[in-house]
């Protein structure tokens, strides 16, 4: 049964307390990132959110994933006929970060096994080995993150995020720290793995190359979220992606 995340009329703002040149005056201004935003994220589909720095892309990501509450509006998690708050989404989401954030004292294999071990999965190592193969790093199982390149670390991070079969993956600039070649490879793996596992993928990125691979492209700018038209080339690229990375 497919799930989705719905944001209805959400706004996000925060107080900015700054002191002016006169010590006795304090300027309390509210900074609004976006207002009355509506967005629907379906499981199994890929989404890219682009926009200039400071537009609120990461904040939007936090709202969609349920890690933060909006200033106004509401987020819902729709699981078939059942509608609940985004708090129920917690155990079904995974994250991929620009900085990878692998635990340095664990090997690649153990980093991937981590979420399964936390869930008490007795097959954790076996499943982790399977995922290590999927991302093409089976020969690096016992290597620590410091012994892996950036691209390899991000592959481990992707495997770690997907190993426990989450319904949604949220990626914040996943190729931000990678060179062109690695970025292409990683994005291919990411999209194909998410598709294969029927996980909804939401990517926040500056990269046009990366965002163009998504089925749905949104642009957040000046507090407004607009959907960019999807091109057939996106679909073509997804087909190619399936051929490049076996997931």
């Amino acid at each position: 049964m497919s799930c989705s995340i719905e944001l209805k009329n959400v706004s996000q703002s925060f107080e900015n307390n700054s002191s002016t040149k006169n010590a006795s005056e304090e300027n309390n201004s509210t900074i609004t990132l976006f207002e009355n935003l509506n967005l629907s994220i379906n499981q199994g589909q890929s989404y890219a959110i682009t926009g200039p720095s400071g537009a609120g892309k990461s904040s939007l990501l936090m709202l969609i994933s349920g890690l933060e509450k909006p200033s106004t509006g509401q987020g819902s998690f729709i699981n078939g006929d059942h509608i609940s708050t985004l708090d129920n989404l917690r155990s079904d989401i995974g994250f991929i970060f620009q900085q990878f954030h692998l635990l340095p004292e664990l090997t690649a294999l153990h980093n991937i096994a981590l979420p399964l071990k936390l869930r008490g999965d007795k097959q954790a190592i076996k499943k982790a080995q399977h995922w290590l193969e999927k991302v093409g790093l089976s020969d690096r199982a016992n290597h620590k993150p410091s012994q892996l390149s950036g691209g390899e670390q991000q592959r481990v991070a992707i495997a770690r995020a997907l190993v426990f079969s989450p319904k949604f993956i949220f990626a914040d600039e996943p190729t931000g720290n990678l060179d062109q070649h690695n970025a292409t490879e990683i994005s291919d793996i990411l999209f194909s793995c998410c598709q294969e596992n029927n996980a909804g993928l939401v990517i926040v990125t500056h990269s046009h190359t990366l965002s163009s691979k998504a089925q749905n492209i949104y642009s957040l700018s000046n507090g407004t979220l607009t959907k960019a038209p999807t091109t057939s080339s996106v679909n073509d690229q997804q087909v190619e992606t399936q051929q490049v990375a076996s997931c």
């Binding site: 990461s58 079904d92 900085q99 954030h101 981590l114 008490g120 426990f164």
Partner: protein
């Protein structure tokens, strides 16, 4: 440029002032400095007081003391080597009046007394003191105000001492030759030399003190003459050492050695803190260099910042040390009358400077690392292992310096250091075992505990360091508290095993006969009695005591005075043979001795060594053929040195006796009768002995408790610094776990489980380490037998477990202030 750097350093110092790693470092440095400065100042005050005591209260340029009267020839030699000689006699006696008694030092002087200084007396307790020339006339006695009050006397009262009656005619206010030779502030009385003769006390109980005026070169000749002709005598002079100087030097050394424990803990804390320092300082320096600054700039800034940190501490340390020093002096004034507190600026500065140098050694790896910093470190961040190795080496260097400075007992030092090393290895082994086995055995299970064990095993190195640090601190604290408890229990049990409630420590043969008769007449239970002669060790293997060993020790200090030499046919019930062979009952080889095992160890004596004694002015050499220890259950009259019974036929010396009596409540007043007739019988009630023990125990308790407080403070700092060192990693770990969909409560649960496992390893290691240390140190150094109480151990285990867990969880609460958002923001 330097000025600019100093300003910059001040700016960064202020910025970083409240950061945990700086706060922790300040605490460690402050605690150590306060301890060392207080110890040094207190020691100095005591030594100065003793010097003053020696200079002002010797009452002569030199004083020669010995048990026997100088022969005419010896007196002639003494007179020829000096300008003036005044003879005084001294004996410990118990004075009685009505139903009261009080032990005191009874001195006899002639008209030529005092030799130097002023003798002050008064005609009543209220009247002012006047200078008096010469002692009391025959038939009179002068008592000091405390003795006066203790016996509730009035002027003109008559005291019966043996067969003599003496009239109380003056209050003794001040004697110029009251050199402190012991820590007992004994009450005093003075009689005329002629009265001492009439009292006819046993001659070898009387201490003959010859006050001498002499030039410096004469004193030197006197000392040489005494060593040759009168090896059993003692000579004190103003250029020499005070009799108590060595004891207090040893006390200082012991406490200083104990400070190794504090330095060790500080080293652990600083090593943890240094990890944070290294990272931050190196990062800052590399950034500065990437902006065009030189390597020297980063180094200078770090150096100046550290110096400012120290300078800010100095006034606080100086004030606190001054206060503690004042408290110590106040406390010591019960023992040292008229000791005064004085602020010693130069000594304080010197000691602080030395401590700062030691801290600089601790911190040097940070600076050494900065010398190797470059901009490339910003790209490759995995270079810390060498720097951390340097931190460990510098910590070891400081510990060695401290040990060398304060060690005067190689055995104790090596045992202490050895115990610490054994505990480290033990703790490391237990950590590895628990985590490895724990992870393997729980692999098949699900849940947070298997996960925690898995994570701890993966992070074995960093976790082991944390466990070692906290574990060592816990071990040191546990050992200190356990030692305090066991020492107290041993002293209490010693009293309980005492036979009888009155201990006779010295009674001549006629006095012993009188005691036996008096016991029969009054139906008093005479439990046991043992005979001895007084003897003084003058040579070991042909060498004088000074030549034999330069290392001071308690045994050596005791052997420099007369000791009791007992004779026995077979091994007494109060002893157990440890080495060698006991002599047969009627052995002809009478020149054998058995020595107490503690003394053997203390002086590094072995079977076959020869000891030469002076017994009643005759020299006798004995060979050590056995060694014994105390065996409880058969009484408490024991002797350090014992010889065969057949030896006594060859030794011409007065016999004395030790005995124990059991008195009922209504029999106590009868003691006065015995003392009145035989004032030189040395008897003490168990109550008084208990009080003495209580006083000693109270003093030891205060010192050890003060020490324990410092250990607790440092232990908390070690815990905090080890948590601080790992905080950023912990935060990241928690954020990553939350990114898998888990809540903060899961992270808290994991934290609790981790600390429980850590605390369990620590508690086990600390208790095992304490047990081993107890086995090693107790018997050889403190003559305590180590008998662990397993119930106590279990309770201790529980306390350590809960304390470390709660403290660890509370201290690591900041690591829970993490979120997935922070991981995103961490770009």
């Amino acid at each position: 440029m330097l000025n600019h750097h100093m300003q910059l350093a001040w700016h960064y110092f202020v910025q970083e002032y409240h950061q945990p790693h700086q706060k922790l470092l300040r605490w460690v440095q402050a605690i150590l400095m306060v301890f060392i400065v207080t110890l040094t100042l207190s020691s100095n005050t005591i030594q100065q007081y003793l010097q003053g005591n020696l200079q002002n209260l010797l009452g002569a340029d030199a004083v020669l003391t010995q048990k026997d009267k100088l022969t005419d020839k010896q007196l002639t030699s003494l007179v020829s080597l000096s300008e003036n000689v005044v003879n005084t006699l001294q004996i410990k006696a118990t004075l009685t009046f009505n139903d009261k008694w009080q032990s005191a030092t009874l001195k006899a002087v002639g008209n030529d007394y005092p030799l130097q200084g002023e003798l002050l007396t008064s005609t009543s307790l209220q009247n002012p003191a006047t200078v008096t020339k010469g002692g009391p006339i025959a038939g009179n006695i002068w008592l000091d105000s405390r003795l006066f009050a203790s016996l509730t006397l009035s002027m003109g009262d008559v005291i019966k001492l043996g067969k003599q009656s003496l009239t109380v005619s003056k209050v003794l206010i001040h004697e110029p030759d009251r050199l402190m030779e012991g820590h007992n502030v004994a009450m005093r009385a003075i009689v005329n030399l002629k009265d001492m003769e009439k009292l006819a006390f046993p001659s070898d109980l009387i201490l003959h003190r010859y006050l001498v005026t002499a030039e410096k070169h004469q004193i030197k000749q006197l000392i040489e003459w005494q060593q040759e002709q009168l090896p059993a005598a003692k000579i004190h002079h103003k250029s020499g050492a005070h009799p108590l100087a060595l004891f207090w030097q040893r006390t200082e050394n012991f406490l200083g050695l104990a400070s190794i424990i504090l330095f060790f803990m500080a080293a652990i804390a600083i090593e943890q803190i240094a990890q944070v320092h290294l990272k931050k300082e190196q990062y800052f320096s590399a950034i500065c260099m990437s902006l065009g600054a030189s390597k020297a700039t980063g180094l200078q800034l770090s150096l100046f910042k550290w110096l400012i940190n120290i300078l800010v501490l100095i006034p606080i340390v100086a004030i606190l040390s001054g206060v503690f020093h004042w408290l110590v002096v106040n406390w010591l004034s019960e023992t040292f009358a008229e000791i005064t507190w004085q602020f010693e600026l130069w000594l304080t500065v010197k000691t602080i400077a030395t401590s700062v140098l030691l801290f600089a050694v601790f911190h040097s790896p940070v600076w050494l690392t900065l010398c190797q910093t470059s901009v490339s470190k910003l790209f490759h961040q995995n270079q810390k292992s060498i720097s951390l190795g340097l931190v460990k080496i510098s910590a070891v260097a400081v510990l060695v310096l401290v040990a060398v400075n304060y060690s005067d007992n190689g055995l104790l030092t090596s045992m202490l250091v050895g115990s610490i090393l054994i505990t480290i290895m033990l703790m490391a082994a237990i950590s590895w075992l628990v985590l490895t086995l724990g992870e393997k055995t729980t692999q098949q299970f699900s849940g947070l505990i298997p996960f925690t064990l898995f994570m701890m095993k993966q992070r074995l190195l960093s976790k082991s360091t944390q466990i070692l640090g906290i574990g060592l601190s816990t071990f040191l604290l546990l050992f200190t508290l356990m030692f305090l408890k066991d020492l107290g229990d041993t002293m209490m049990s010693y009293q309980r095993t005492h036979d009888g409630n009155v201990m006779v420590s010295q009674a001549s043969q006629p006095e012993m006969d009188a005691i036996e008769q008096w016991s029969k007449d009054n139906d008093i239970n005479l439990r046991q009695s043992k005979s001895y002669v007084y003897s003084k060790v003058v040579k070991i293997n042909g060498l004088t005591l000074k030549e034999f060993t330069t290392k001071p020790s308690d045994s050596l200090a005791t052997l420099s005075r007369s000791i009791r030499l007992h004779w026995t046919k077979s091994i007494p019930k109060t002893n157990r043979l440890v080495q060698g062979k006991w002599w047969s009952e009627n052995t002809e080889d009478w020149q054998q001795i058995s020595i107490e095992e503690e003394v053997m160890t203390d002086l590094s004596l072995v079977l076959g060594d020869k000891l030469t004694f002076i017994i009643h002015q005759q020299s006798y050499t004995f060979t050590i053929t056995a060694s014994h220890v105390y065996k409880p259950g058969a009484g408490s009259i024991i002797f350090w040195v014992q010889m065969p019974e057949t030896a006594i036929q060859h030794i011409n010396a007065p016999h004395y006796n030790m005995a124990s009596l059991e008195l009922n409540d209504d029999q106590w007043p009868l003691l006065g009768q015995l003392w009145q007739k035989h004032p030189t019988i040395r008897m003490v009630s168990l109550q008084e002995m208990t009080k003495q023990f209580d006083d000693i125990l109270s003093m030891i308790t205060k010192v050890i408790s003060g020490f324990a407080v410092m250990i607790i403070l440092l232990a908390i700092i070690v815990i905090l610094s080890s948590i601080n060192a790992l905080e950023s990693k912990e935060k990241k770990k928690n954020s990553v776990i939350m990114s898998f969909g888990f809540l903060k409560s899961t992270c808290l649960q994991l934290n609790i489980i981790e600390w429980l496992i850590t605390a369990l390893i620590i508690a086990t290691g600390a208790i095992a380490g304490t047990y081993i240390t107890g086995m090693l140190i107790y018997q050889s150094q403190f003559s305590l037998s180590y008998q662990p109480n397993f119930l106590t151990l279990f309770i201790t285990l529980t306390i350590i477990l809960s304390t470390v867990t709660l403290l660890g969880i509370y201290a690591s609460r900041h690591s829970l202030k993490s979120s997935v958002k922070q991981l995103m923001a961490d770009v």
